[in-house]
């Protein structure tokens, strides 16, 4: 048998998603070889086009960094799904697709006449994946939410931040990235299951459940032991936290007496301090965190993050400097692994993008094309692939259908 160049090249995905969660899911499909047809609203497109960042901070819906990274390798078409003709064309697309992914509010697809029953009747093999804040069922189904709200309700904010201050969420809409990955996994499971059940199925991914799922062990520990995890206190032993050093912050990981002893030696802490009852057990160190920070301060403040990291690494200790974005891009390690890749886009020119999330030897991740301009592939999809005529396309354009 021939070796496919990509893992998913036999799959066709109709992509009705916007913003982050859905596009991140379909980016995984596209970057690993599926043919992804992204359907956007004529004249406006995916809302992520308006969010930026933009080069030079100049607003340009064709140059949003968020949109450009989340939509690589996709074909872009426009279609007004609120018109009969638009809906008919979409159903035609769905007839020859394997997967349809959407992240509208629950009920919107039904309202457009594109609900599961209709799609399933049009193409019994189609897998329909829906991503929403709270899922397609349940009392909060129609509640509004943002990442901040999902992080809080899912349990992750309550444990993040400082004990005496407000709970914190993660950076950059993490709940949406999490849900995007769950949607991708679920959809691939449905592709594999289709091999023996012979049909597609409906998938319901709730972002709130994504957040609650990723903290499974942390959550079970609280529930099953009946104890409350205080905010910012993941483990009741230190050093397992950030310390200030000469040029920023570094996370030191030394749970247990052996690692603590090694760390103290590496930092040349006065051996008599090791006898001090305030520092003699993990629990004692935890309860005397301020005193411990003072004890380590002179040594830490005399070194920069890189020197400390290398020194501790040589002694078999684990540490993590808090790197800023410029430092991440400059990491020799990532450069040697060619993690960042250059992508050329007609509006922005060549920019560095994050590269393969993991390396597959037989079916590698690859960039074949940048994110589409709004409606860039209308002709290629509607005329070349679907067999409509240029006249049809011209008429639809006049009527605001594409």
């Amino acid at each position: 048998m021939d070796t496919p160049r990509t893992a998913l090249e036999d799959l066709v995905v109709v992509d009705l998603t916007h913003y982050v969660a859905g596009p991140f899911c379909t980016k995984m499909f596209a970057d690993f070889g599926a043919s992804v047809i992204k359907v956007e609203k004529p004249g406006q497109g995916d809302g992520a086009r308006e969010l930026g960042p933009f080069p030079g901070d100049a607003f340009d819906p064709e140059a949003s960094g968020l949109f450009l990274n989340l939509n690589t390798n996709k074909l872009g078409v426009t279609l007004n799904l609120k018109t009969d003709e638009g809906r008919r064309i979409l159903l035609d697309l769905a007839r020859s697709a394997d997967i349809l992914v959407e992240n509208f509010r629950p009920g919107v697809m039904d309202g457009l006449g594109l609900g599961w029953d209709t799609l399933h009747a049009a193409n019994p093999k189609l897998i329909m994946t829906s991503i929403s804040n709270f899922g397609q069922t349940g009392p909060y189904r129609d509640y509004k939410a943002t990442d901040l709200i999902l992080y809080g309700m899912g349990g992750l904010s309550g444990i993040t931040g400082a004990r005496d201050r407000e709970p914190l969420k993660g950076p950059q809409a993490q709940s949406q990235y999490q849900a995007g990955l769950f949607a991708f996994m679920a959809t691939l499971c449905a592709v594999l299951a289709r091999g023996f059940i012979g049909e597609g199925q409906r998938i319901d991914v709730a972002m709130l459940e994504s957040v609650a799922s990723i903290i499974l062990p942390t959550l079970l520990r609280a529930v099953a032991s009946g104890t409350k995890q205080q905010r910012g206190e993941l483990v009741k032993t230190i050093p397992c936290n950030f310390f200030r050093c000469k040029d920023g912050f570094i996370y030191l990981y030394a749970p247990g007496e052996v690692l603590w002893g090694n760390l103290a030696a590496a930092l040349e802490i006065d051996p008599s301090a090791m006898e001090d009852p305030r520092f003699s057990t993990g629990k004692a160190r935890f309860e005397n965190a301020d005193a411990l920070a003072k004890l380590l301060e002179p040594s830490l403040m005399s070194a920069d993050r890189e020197t400390l990291f290398n020194k501790l690494k040589e002694m078999g200790l684990i540490a993590g400097p808090a790197l800023t974005m410029d430092e991440v891009f400059a990491m020799e390690h990532l450069q040697e692994r060619n993690f960042f890749v250059e992508v050329k886009h007609p509006r922005t020119g060549t920019l560095k993008y994050p590269g393969p999330p993991f390396r597959m030897t037989e079916t590698p991740w690859q960039i074949r094309s940048p994110a589409p301009l709004l409606g860039q592939h209308n002709r290629q999809v509607f005329v070349d692939k679907m067999g409509f005529t240029d006249d049809d396309l011209a008429k639809w354009t006049r009527e605001g259908i594409v």
């Binding site: 070796t3 950076p171 993490q174 594999l192 903290i215 942390t218 993941l234 410029d326």
Partner: protein, 428 residues
């Protein structure tokens, strides 16, 4: 959704040989197990999963909060909460891979498997004589995934990493924290579940490819790179503008209010996010049109953003008078995005999650029954399921070696005598 007991499972024909420990790798195989794959979790009697925690009941008793029911019991390594958090739906087999017979049994299992998953540091599998090139000779269809902290190449290849140190090195921590405070991590080892999810993405694609071509492959996953892959805006802003993001607490680039506000009671909070003028008007109506909001400076979104400190002061003064649950309902009914900040123990009591069947009550043998998040997504025809909580050490050794390799009860006993396998810890 179809009845759980009768339906088929999407990965029911998949066999995973699982050498992973702790969180990231074990979460990956936990997710595969939820979807019906047979997960053969391999540990050694003298080297159990590090997440089983301390082995001595006396030492374990110092931290009872780490154990099911708050009680480490006589075998604390069977009751560690974290271990139970990512090892449901698995079979436990012990094998000593430093003994020739252990390696031989492992290789025979590889011939029967689809996936080998491991998260040792990169040299370990080679040292055991179990590198991918060796396994591929035994089974060309085998998919092997390695998921160390920093991947299988590059100058940090042999550096150890844990979630707590990988998160700062991914750039994520420098973007997190209070505007006036230090970099922080998530309140849990966030890079672990991220790597676990990404590993499942990789493995499912490799399976799809294997089912079509008969060919396996090797997957090199760096937990550091998977964490970076969860960021877009900050990476692209640096790439486009050379700008390095700042910590801003819960604040948003243009939404205000956008904060967790204090409510009645100890450590009680509500998240409120206003993304449009309509929502702002809805919020003001719900607050009873307070006088301070009439001020011109709060009329537009940019004005609210510019005067956010003052705005947050007004918001907090109001939210403090309310119960967080009642306030969430009141605000949502008024068309405002709002949600309670749940403590971990409150998540499993949430009525919405319960109504959706997401929360399951499971039997943790003599420790009792506890509620836990169930399957992470819903599938109409082949939903996943939880058929058992985490196994005890070596619980399925005889069953799996018999089922896959035809080892008889007598042969099994001989292997136990030689300490190749068994069901008890052994440090002799």
């Amino acid at each position: 959704m179809a009845a759980k007991s009768k339906s088929r499972l999407p990965l029911e024909d998949v066999t995973v040989i699982d050498l992973t420990q702790a969180w990231a790798g074990a979460y990956a195989t936990n997710l595969l197990g939820d979807m019906g794959a047979e997960i053969i979790k391999i540990e050694a009697r003298n080297r159990p999963d590090v997440w089983r925690g301390v082995l001595s009941p006396q030492v374990a008793a110092l931290n009872p909060e780490n154990y099911l029911g708050g009680d480490p019991g006589l075998k604390p390594y069977e009751r560690a909460c974290l271990y139970h958090g990512v090892n449901r739906n698995k079979r436990s087999v012990t094998l000593n891979l430093t003994m020739d017979e252990g390696v031989d049994l492992f290789k025979r299992l590889v011939k029967r498997g689809d996936i080998v998953a491991e998260n040792f540091t990169p040299r370990v599998m080679g040292n055991l004589g179990l590198a991918y090139d060796t396994l591929k000779e035994l089974n060309p269809g085998i998919i092997m995934i390695s998921m160390p902290g920093y991947g299988g190449s590059g100058p940090l290849r042999d550096s150890r990493g844990v979630g707590g140190t990988i998160e700062p090195m991914s750039g994520m921590s420098s973007l997190m924290g209070y505007a006036d405070g230090p970099a922080i991590n998530h309140g849990t080892m966030y890079p672990d579940p991220v790597a676990g999810m990404m590993a499942v993405c990789a493995v499912l694609m490799a399976l799809h490819h294997q089912r079509r071509t008969g060919r396996g492959q090797y997957i090199d996953l760096s937990q550091h790179e998977t964490t970076i892959s969860m960021l877009t805006s900050a990476l692209m802003d640096y790439s486009m503008n050379g700008r390095v993001g700042k910590r801003a607490g819960n604040r948003h680039a243009f939404m205000a209010p956008h904060q967790n506000y204090p409510c009645q009671g100890e450590d009680a909070w509500i998240a409120i996010a206003v993304s449009s003028d309509q929502e702002w008007q809805n919020l003001m109506r719900a607050m009873g049109d307070p006088a301070w909001a009439k001020d011109e400076k709060f009329r537009t979104a940019p004005g609210r953003k510019k005067n956010e400190d003052e705005l947050d002061g007004h918001m907090s003064a109001w939210t403090k008078q309310h119960d967080k649950h009642k306030l969430m309902k009141q605000l949502q009914d008024a068309g405002v995005a709002a949600g309670v900040v749940n403590a971990l123990g409150e998540v499993v009591e949430d009525p919405h999650l319960q109504a959706r069947g997401f929360i399951e009550t499971l039997d943790y043998f003599e420790a009792g029954r506890f509620k836990t998040p169930g399957v992470a997504w819903k599938m109409s025809a082949t939903p996943g399921r939880i058929w058992r909580t985490a196994p005890t050490l070596g619980q399925d050794s005889a069953y799996i070696l018999g089922k896959h390799l035809g080892i008889t009860a007598e042969e099994y006993q001989a292997l136990v005598q030689k300490k190749v396998t068994g069901e008890e810890l052994d440090f002799d």
